[in-house]
């Protein structure tokens, strides 16, 4: 089961990279849309904070990965 997962992840990554095309600056009007940003939005700031207190998992989401507060 584990090996199937690894193969699926590798296949997905390979197909994603294979479909990469060079996107010129003038073609980035959609990519540069403020809603397309690859980060949590400002309005999510306090949601990210409460996950830190109410859940055990943290990090890799733009928020803290531990420390800086009396949280998990």
């Amino acid at each position: 089961m584990k090996s199937i997962k690894i193969i699926a992840i590798c296949a997905f990554s390979a197909s994603s990279m294979a479909s990469c095309v060079t996107v010129k600056e003038y073609q980035k009007n959609r990519i540069n849309d403020s809603e397309m940003e690859l980060a949590a939005r400002k309005a999510e700031k306090f949601e990210t904070s409460f996950y830190l207190y109410r859940e055990g998992a943290s990090g890799a989401n733009g928020g803290k990965s531990g420390g800086g507060c009396g949280c998990n």
């Binding site: 095309v21 996107v23 700031k45 943290s58």
Partner: protein, 417 residues
């Protein structure tokens, strides 16, 4: 109260500084003649300063306010039973300034002031003898300042951040250094961040475990956290971009909460005890896809595991729908599933022979869902016709956990440019 007044004062002074940039330009223009009277070297330096200050620009000001409330029946303060009722009012002011130096590098300076005021029914049970103990309510103040320098010629950015946090029983100093490098076509970016927090936790024990009669015994314990974050982002095509992040973190010191009670099977009670180290390994994948002309699909997945035997999967999806070119509605959904740490057991099920014990349901095994929607407006003439009020967003979310805890959060954010 004192902290609140200081915070409001700092907010006001920073706002006045930020919006006074035009005045600064005017003053320097008027004083140019006096700068020329200085010695040549000093005069050159002054001219450079004038140049920098002339390009000092207020990029944006963000205000975010939220109200959060929760309820449940598994408070760790009372050993895994009892009310978890809590509310939190949070406010944040974020000011971003920038200037371009003589080597055409763009410097950004970001200051953030955040304040939470909260009231917690379970914290009041640390000392249930008092009608309303000091622990019942508190103000959490956490400012931060960050700087970054972007060099477009070299396609790289370097930066640093410093943060401070203080609340009733907790104090923290944190910092990080970051570096990112993008490809010549700016379609690929690799980023690295190295950070640390140096925290101090005051040992405030539940009343029955205190050796003195006071609220506090003046004993402090450190908690240090170190993390490294490595990220790669890639523009796949004109509509799709992806980012992968791995962020290992290591913590040492007091990792248990001193006022959490644990009741054992034989009826005895102690305060929570957890190991003095914890290694965490989260891996995240984020993507955004522009579907047609009106829909954007934003997705996030994270796998997490640590050496306390917790494993977790988190998935979130939100779909901003552009109703018009300046109004969008965003439904969102997030699902989280986590296994319990090996030191967790519910109320009166721990054995006294165990080395570590906790009845904190935040690190128990559960599934949670968070869902809701947001409305965002960004009219070309400004919100309510106010030219500098660029964007307003209202967002609501409902959170529920499989162990019965529920929470609601409503957030209002405003961006001024």
């Amino acid at each position: 109260m004192k902290k609140t007044i200081i915070t409001i004062g700092l907010y006001a002074s920073f706002l006045s500084c930020a919006f006074a940039q035009n005045t600064t330009k005017y003053l320097f223009k008027k004083n140019t003649s006096s700068a020329l009277k200085l010695a040549p070297k000093e005069a050159k330096s002054s001219e450079e300063n004038v140049g920098i200050l002339k390009t000092l620009k207020l990029e944006e000001v963000n205000l975010v306010s939220s109200y959060y409330q929760q309820d449940g029946n598994n408070s760790a303060v009372t050993g895994g039973i009892g009310t978890e009722k809590l509310f939190d009012i949070a406010n944040s002011l974020d000011i971003k300034l920038s200037f371009t130096d003589k080597k055409a590098r763009k410097h950004s300076l970001n200051t953030d002031f955040s304040v939470d005021y909260y009231s917690s029914a379970s914290s009041d049970m640390i000392d249930p003898r008092s009608i309303s103990s000091a622990s019942k309510q508190d103000t959490h103040f956490y400012p931060s300042i960050s700087w970054s320098m972007k060099n477009d010629k070299k396609h790289q950015t370097v930066g640093a951040n410093f943060s401070y946090s203080t609340e009733w029983d907790y104090q923290s100093f944190g910092g990080n250094l970051n570096f990112s490098k993008s490809s010549k076509d700016n379609n690929t970016e690799v980023s690295l961040k190295v950070g640390a927090f140096f925290d101090t936790w005051e040992l405030i024990l539940p009343v029955e475990f205190r050796t003195n009669s006071g609220d506090r015994n003046g004993s402090f314990k450190p908690r240090n956290s170190y993390n490294v974050s490595l990220g790669v982002s890639q523009i796949i095509n004109k509509r799709l971009q992806l980012m992968a992040v791995i962020e290992p973190a290591y913590q040492e010191g007091l990792l248990s909460t001193p006022y959490h009670r644990v009741y054992f099977k034989d009826g005895t009670a102690k305060v929570e005890k957890l190991p003095g180290t914890r290694f965490k390994l989260p891996v995240g994948l984020r993507g955004s896809y522009f579907l047609g002309d009106r829909f954007i699909i934003r997705g996030f997945y994270r796998y997490y595991q640590d050496d306390w035997n917790m494993k977790a999967h988190t998935v979130s999806v939100e779909v901003p729908i552009k109703i018009t070119s300046f109004v969008s509605v965003t439904p969102h959904y997030r699902f989280n599933s986590q296994s319990a740490v090996k030191y967790f057991s519910p109320y009166k099920t721990h054995l006294t022979s165990e080395s570590y014990y906790s009845s904190d349901y935040d690190i128990s095994g559960f599934k949670s869902a968070f869902w809701g929607a947001g409305v965002r407006i960004a009219p070309p003439d400004g919100v309510l016709g106010i030219k500098h009020w660029n964007t307003a967003e209202l967002r609501y979310g409902h959170y529920n956990r499989s162990n019965g805890m529920v929470a609601n959060i409503i957030t209002l954010s405003a961006k001024f440019k």
